[in-house]
Symmetry: C3
Subunit: 368 residues, 3 copies
């Protein structure tokens, strides 16, 4: 096979031996090259002939919480390219950590065994902490061990945002100027939509964003302002029915009952005790919970039912709209929608593989 | 090495990209070719020179319940042939599934990462459900992702039946006409014996089957009739002592205390409440349990002690009989029997590796 | 690359297809060759060009208790050399074993799938038991399946001792005669220091050992005598402050609160009931526990605080001393020490990889 990478891929050199912690690291040039590489990965996987770019490389999957999708996706991405996986198999928390080891020490240890570390952790900021640990260990060596953030709690999940944007461009072309992209569901807590709205802005996409959510789950203003400050218009509405006809992309997220309860707990705590819920002792928290659950129930059911994208709802959407979801979808999209040509969420899953292959090859400087 | 597969292996083409859900899919011709291939796998593993038939292939082990033996066997089979494994490591249930994802969606997701999926699941019928999900996803593509049923609750476990039959032929030759094959233990609930008796009939083996079990654990009539309708005589007895001298193969299964209790629960529920135990509420079930356990205890101990194959019992068996067990054996066969030449259950384990290698290579159309 | 192994590596032939159960199997000649091979592995990993010595080999990681560090280290060692890993992923105890399968049977099963088995087990003596099972299965074959003890409860953890000694020689040269090596912390229960003191004696190192521990956690006399009988002087003290200035190596181990409680339970049981604590029924044990915990608390805190190796303490140590720890370190060494050139514990982790690579290649007779 002839050389696969064009001169433009020199941009990917910028990723070599870099930690991947946040979407803010990317530039439009790097994104373009990365997506081009992902497209080549797609073709190679489809024809069954992938290049062993990661031969002799060992990637560690360090998962502090289980995540079947992300775990398997990185396992496959590594191995499709001939690399090897060492894996904690969801077991980190049962072992070193229960003996009281710090994240720093665990990362430094795994660093000794692997060429890159894919980290999934429930705590925001842990990916950056891990990167610091890896840097501290490798100060004296020329080759650092990159940390790839595969989700750190309410923080970031950059490879998800990359695959989301890639999927939109995979469908509408590299230039997506003029598209209208709707975000639906729990926009307050949805890590994936936060990262994607930022990435769209970073990529200088001239798209319009429509945020569709109940008031209590609306997009945090920091992200709205981030977008607007980069000349990306953002509209907000609660009415899916009204909005859907104008969308080219509808990105759905899960509405979780527990989020409403947490919101109610916050509100009640402020009213009753005059302090945030995190400042309460366990007893007081327990006392508030039944009332919070009752208050939350109605709002949750309303949101859940309002924001279901079923064939009826889809009938009002454009014929060439695409429907995205980071999965698991639970009730948000019924299975009967899967046969609709606009259902693009499993294509998203596939694209996740290609993006991760492209990213691993770039980060480990294995392009040739 | 010269071409390994003979012209007869064209039968294996029938397995290419097929789901392997039940023993009923197999024909005598396919079985013969598959067993021939397994024998070649045996020779290759023993000499340490296996062909990388599965190079560039990724097989997913999706285990919804742990099964060390089956899991490791498929992991080894894949890797002995140069393939790669991605694995949920018993973690499916802790992750996506607890977030409420359906089996359909999980399978469609894994389908995006792998070339074949080995599924272990506690629920009967789940393998077929997974196959439907994979087919739905791949409707538009020419290469579907085969699902291999590695045990679905009380349903089937086809690779176990294949390795069982292969082991018998490995010992007695391809033509086993005239053999007498005994099944011992819990024939009511033993998934492996159900599949094997069907496979013997499907393969048109002119063997006689002797079912040796306590009345409450006897072979369900559907399997007896399946065999008889294919001109395979089936005898039933409770007396191992009497039967053992006439056997060429003795296939032992575990007798589990819990099975007797369940049976008693059924009987008591019918007598006391006039309805099946599944229709009872939790409180009524709890009320019946102590009595059921007491009633079951004696029958369990009797069955357990009657059906132990120890050296004393073996002394009454033929010198060239072979003793099989799907393992774990617990109390059914004491360890002192292991040194007896008739102990064939670890040979069974080894054959499981060769059968799974042969099956994976066939299903992924990698023979050459 | 030219032939990597010198004529001296014929000593490693002695390890071919041997179980690795205890440090007592090693001789100075084998150690020298093994360490030479580990050094070559180090160079190969650093340059990114490892030889695929374990191609076509399948190694099973059978872990009956989780151990992230050891598990990942063996996974990486196998794969760095091109071998394949099959892994129970900490799941042995949830599967076959809960169905009542013996260690013997599980090992015989895994033996059918793998070329070597790395065993981690909480019970002392289980590695030897596993070796017996493997030998029993393979009586008729010429190639046995080696068991590698990766820690069996309070028994041995030979690869840890090997990497510890290798690290000392990696720093001070092959001839370490004249060094003074301090052991600090819980020397009574610390498996790693027991194995290392034995290995130093077996290797005929003319070093002096200083054991620094509170009285209740002092080095058991059997190890002290083992050393002295091989002309290796052993001093004992409780005073780290006094001892540290004379050391070339300080090997720190964790002081665990639970160990003090157990010791107090022993003492109290003898005083109150006149029998060992293991002979007590649960009720009596429970009755003693609060008093034991109270008595232990003070001693634990004193030991924990006395034996912290912080920058202040290090200021009294030699400039070229090295500080070792088997990890996790918890409170024993604060993170600020990591930037001190004497901090050698992550170098130990790295060396663990090289030692395990060297050992696997030797045991599987893959040197060429």
């Amino acid at each position: 096979m002839a050389a696969v990478y064009s001169a433009a891929d020199t941009h990917l050199k910028q990723l070599a031996y870099q930690h991947i912690l946040t979407v803010e690291q990317f530039t439009p040039e790097v994104l373009e090259s990365l997506f081009g590489l992902a497209q080549r990965m797609d073709r190679q996987v489809e024809t069954g002939h992938t290049e062993p770019l990661l031969a002799n490389r060992v990637i560690a999957n360090a998962f502090y919480e289980p995540s079947t999708r992300t775990d398997l996706s990185f396992q496959s991405a590594t191995q499709r390219l001939g690399g090897r996986v060492i894996s904690t198999a969801g077991g980190v928390q049962y072992s070193s950590v229960t003996k009281g080891e710090s994240l720093h020490d665990t990362i430094k240890t795994i660093d000794c065994y692997a060429d890159a570390i894919v980290l999934r952790h429930p705590t925001r900021g842990s990916a950056r902490e891990a990167a610091e640990a890896a840097d501290a260990l490798r100060m004296s060596l020329h080759r650092p061990t990159p940390i790839i953030n595969a989700g750190d709690g309410t923080g970031e999940h950059p490879t998800q945002a990359l695959l989301d944007l890639y999927t939109i461009k995979d469908r509408f072309g590299a230039n997506i100027d003029g598209l209208t992209i709707g975000f639906l569901g729990d926009l307050r807590n949805g890590r994936t939509v936060h990262s994607l709205i930022k990435l769209l802005a970073i990529d200088h996409c001239h798209v319009k964003v429509v945020c569709i959510a109940p008031e209590s789950l609306s997009m945090p203003s920091e992200y709205v302002e981030f977008a607007r400050s980069r000349e990306m218009p953002v509209e907000e509405t609660q009415d899916l029915q009204e909005a859907i006809g104008g969308l080219d992309v509808l990105y759905v997220t899960r509405v979780q009952r527990e989020r409403f309860v947490a919101q109610e707990m916050d509100d009640l705590s402020a009213k009753v005790y005059g302090m945030p819920v995190d400042a309460l002792d366990a007893q007081r928290k327990d006392a508030l919970r039944p009332l919070a659950e009752q208050n939350a129930a109605q709002e949750y059911l309303a949101a859940r039912d309002t924001y279901v994208v079923d064939p009826m709802m889809l009938s009002q959407a454009r014929k060439n709209m695409i429907l995205l979801h980071p999965l698991p979808r639970v009730n948000a999209i019924p299975e009967e929608v899967d046969t609709d040509d606009r259902a693009y969420y499993f294509r998203q899953v596939q694209n996740g593989l290609y993006i991760r292959m492209a990213l691993l090859a770039s980060v480990l400087d294995c392009l040739r």
